[in-house]
Symmetry: C2
Subunit: 135 residues, 2 copies
DNA sequence: GGCATCCTCAGGCGGTTTGTCTTAGTTCAA
DNA sequence: TTGAACTAAGACAAACCGCCTGAGGATGCC
């Protein structure tokens, strides 16, 4: 069963990127960008990738006249969140704190990144006092 | 070629976890933990997994008498760092900042986590002024 | 109508990965 | 010498991934 949204391939991700950038798109529009000079086979390739992305609940298919129009149903942020969670589960017993630690240690951050991080902290401190239940 | 250390499987990760926990281990010791009641075939399975981990430069094999003793050559932190970097490359054009943002937003952080984050920021600000080249 | 063009859909192919297992050979101790 | 352990080499099915073929169906132009 496809209960678990499986991993998303780099090629599939390229498609998602286009959908994020352009919004609703037809296979033709996507193919033209992924494979300029592409013919029928490349078109079918994109269609296969979209089929699989649909199976992974990452895109939605809509009929518009006689063509299918595709839309991304996951955001970049959701995918980032998912991958972070997976990493935490796989490597840190579900705890996100080590990720954060490692992220900062590894990032060799620029001063601007340090600033951004500080901003996150500020926002986190105010948000942290609002909604929370349990986990 | 295996220039890029490929992705590490969940099953392989289970082995790495044992190596991190126990340090140097024989196949027998690992098999006993991963597959209690396991026989010859399970032993061979573990051996295959270790072979592949060695190919991925994650463990080192050492001869001790007539048995092989395996040691992890990557730390949990290194793997975490690697996965974070991969996520940033795949989804955020290589920038780690969105990861951090999402991490904080998703983590539904406790006040202690907020404190920890603050601590990281403090450490980051002092470390940020040391080594840096470009990016 | 006849034809070309574009779209859709079903399905398959070759290569790789992954977890598992078989077989055979080596080493050592009772 | 027998047997129990270890090692090594290789195979296997299943799944996944990117790609492609082929057969239709609708549309539009002459």
């Amino acid at each position: 069963m496809t209960l678990t949204p499986r991993n998303i391939t780099d090629t599939e991700l390229a498609l998602l990127r286009l959908l994020w950038k352009d919004g609703r798109s037809t296979i033709r529009q996507l193919t033209d960008q992924m494979y300029p000079e592409g013919g029928h086979s490349e078109y079918a390739t994109v269609q296969s990738l979209l089929d699989r992305l649909e199976g992974k609940s990452c895109v939605r298919r809509e009929r518009d006249g006689r063509v299918n129009v595709f839309t991304a149903t996951v955001t970049r942020s959701e995918l980032v969140a998912r991958r972070l969670r997976e990493t935490a589960d796989a490597l840190c017993d579900g705890s996100l704190a080590p990720l954060l630690s490692q992220l900062v240690r590894v990032s060799d951050p620029t001063p601007e990144e340090a600033d951004a991080l500080q901003g996150l902290v500020d926002r986190l401190e105010t948000a942290g006092s609002s909604g929370k239940e349990e986990a």
